[in-house]
């Protein structure tokens, strides 16, 4: 019987010929990413071990991105713990280089790898055909010490894409539509695999955006077939694929969806659930206090270009705080060179250094009681962006930028 991409990666990592959904295997991990959200707890647990050790320090990548620069003595203490440990053990360490997943994509991840990240959006790595999955710090510590972990082989939902997104519709609208369709736990414990002719119309930025958000449908991982676009991206970043797996013709999927990309429309996810989606136009007119263009989901150069094209020659609404946060230092430098940073600055936006910003809700950019944010971030849970009684709408870079100009939710054609 044939295997899916997810099954093939797990089989290779487990050193077995084949696996099937429901099996639990011990797997060898290729890479272990951890950020400042939890690493200090991992270190505390590590220090309590009877025989603390690191299986392979070269597999570890630690990234400070959630609170950069630090905004409290508590985060400063957590960062120091992380920095000192990384220095002592020779762990690859980034601070201020950008959001962890974007930094991982730019510098580390390659096709066919099995990666644990102590962050739920680790599933983003599927954009290059790597099996990335989010874990907690106990899982992380176990893998750090042994180089291995246990994994339950997931079933796979297959999405066959055809057609092409219309102008003014983005990958972000597509994945929000999918989450709306299958629900916040529609892919719980499962892998979401994307393929088909339509995939070829999506660039790497689109792909990262789509895979990144799959956890919001509960997915264990997201995977995309490796193709020319993948290989070009890897080559441009100086890497080779480890494996270029494709699902077999006779692989068994839990369910197969055929999606025509041309049917997708601009979407918003309304408070307080990612699957609470609606046609963006239905929400038009909702007053906003803040807009956020950034995050590992939508803070790449392509997203900033979309926003810049809309706001060029216009001004941010005076009562709106428009945060523009490039996903990485590389993205920032590119945007600076292209004049995009200046376009946003001229329009009155707040351009922050690359970090997680209000997407994670406990650093600069938080919103207050009763306030409304429209965001390209990953989540709109109650209280996610600051005060527990506040409201977050998720939308594309285009809709967010248009809303920042209008002072209320608006699509790009309305400004």
């Amino acid at each position: 019987m044939g295997m899916t991409m997810a099954e093939k990666i797990i089989a290779a990592a487990a050193g077995v010929a084949s696996v099937k959904p429901g099996d639990i295997h011990t797997v060898e991990l290729d890479r272990l990413m951890s950020n400042d959200g939890t690493t200090h707890l991992t270190i505390d647990m590590y220090n309590k071990l009877k025989n603390p050790r690191i299986a392979d320090v070269n597999k570890l990548v630690w990234i400070v991105d959630h609170n950069v620069p630090c905004d409290s003595v508590k985060t400063a203490a957590s960062h120091k713990k992380m920095r000192d440990f990384a220095k002592e053990h020779g762990i690859q360490f980034y601070e201020g280089e950008g959001v962890c997943h974007q930094v991982m994509m730019e510098r580390h991840v390659t096709s066919g790898e099995l990666i644990f990240g102590a962050d739920s959006h680790t599933c983003a790595y599927g954009a290059v055909g790597a099996f990335g999955t989010g874990v907690g710090c106990t899982d992380y510590l176990y893998a750090m010490v042994t180089g291995k972990s246990w994994l339950l082989v997931p079933e796979t939902l297959k999405f066959n894409l055809t057609g092409k997104l219309n102008d003014g519709v983005y990958a972000r609208d597509f994945i929000l539509s999918i989450i709306g369709m299958i629900g916040a736990n529609g892919a719980n414990y499962m892998a979401m695999e994307f393929g088909g002719e339509g995939l070829k119309t999506l660039n790497m930025s689109d792909r990262i955006c789509i895979c990144n958000l799959c956890v919001e449908a509960g997915a264990k991982t997201a995977l995309m077939e490796v193709d020319e676009i993948t290989l070009d991206y890897l080559k441009a970043h100086g890497r080779e694929p480890k494996h270029s797996f494709k699902s077999d013709e006779d692989a068994v999927f839990a369910k197969v969806y055929d999606i025509d990309l041309s049917t997708i429309k601009p979407i918003v996810a309304k408070p307080h659930f990612v699957d609470s989606v609606a046609d963006a136009k239905e929400c038009a007119g909702t007053k906003i206090d803040e807009a956020f263009l950034g995050s590992c989901n939508n803070g790449r150069i392509e997203d900033l270009r979309v926003g810049a094209a809309i706001i060029r020659g216009k001004k941010v609404h005076p009562l709106v705080r428009f945060l523009v946060v490039p996903a990485s230092a590389e993205v920032y430098r590119q945007a600076l060179a292209e004049g995009i940073i200046d376009t946003f600055m001229e329009a009155g936006a707040i351009v922050m250094n690359p970090n997680c910003s209000v997407c994670w809700g406990s650093c600069q950019g938080v919103i207050g009681e009763g306030e409304t944010l429209i965001s390209t971030g990953t989540r709109n849970f109650k209280g996610r962006a600051g005060h527990k009684d506040s409201f977050v709408y998720l939308a594309s870079a285009a809709t967010v930028t248009a809303s920042a100009v209008k002072g209320e939710i608006a699509t790009a054609d309305m400004v």
Partner: protein, 155 residues
């Protein structure tokens, strides 16, 4: 026997423990803020041995292990839900917090009801009624039995 604290569906990790608290240095410093947005009294009222009962997709959202950890630190005996989000489920097993899938329980009990759980029998008893719950796969039960994933590293 323990008391039931009841929650609805799609309880995400931000509700279990909000972002502004997960940066605190230790679990003990955060646990007082568990479920703050949904039930501000939870942390002060829950007693060791009590249960959290929820509907579908409990623990969706981030990979923050602080979520099961604060519940364990507050003495929650087990979380019983119609279904769990994947990362929360895995994290809970790894730190030794029992997470039990029971489809029928949530709709038939009220907050404050007294409940008893037998993991070996795979059954929950509340108000004189029994509800069957899913047993853990052997591998995961093994992790729970040894006291969490890290315990094996110290053998």
């Amino acid at each position: 026997m323990g008391k039931i604290f009841k929650f609805q569906q799609d309880v995400d990790t931000d509700q279990i423990i909000a972002s502004q608290y997960i940066i605190f240095p230790t679990i003990d410093e955060m646990k007082g803020h568990a479920f703050e947005s949904l039930d501000p009294d939870f942390a002060s009222q829950v007693q060791p041995g009590d249960y959290v009962v929820a509907s579908e997709n409990f623990g969706c959202g981030s990979s923050r292990e602080q979520a099961p950890s604060v519940l364990k630190a507050l003495g929650v005996q087990a979380v019983v839900a119609k279904s769990f989000a994947r990362i929360f489920y895995r994290n809970a097993i790894n730190i030794g917090l029992p997470v039990i899938v029971c489809k029928d329980l949530h709709d038939n009990v009220n907050a404050g009801d007294e409940m008893e759980l037998s993991m070996q029998e795979g059954v929950v008893r509340v108000n004189g009624k029994e509800y069957a719950c899913t047993k853990l796969p052997e591998y995961m039960q093994g992790i729970l039995d040894q006291g969490g994933l890290i315990a094996s590293l110290n053998e």
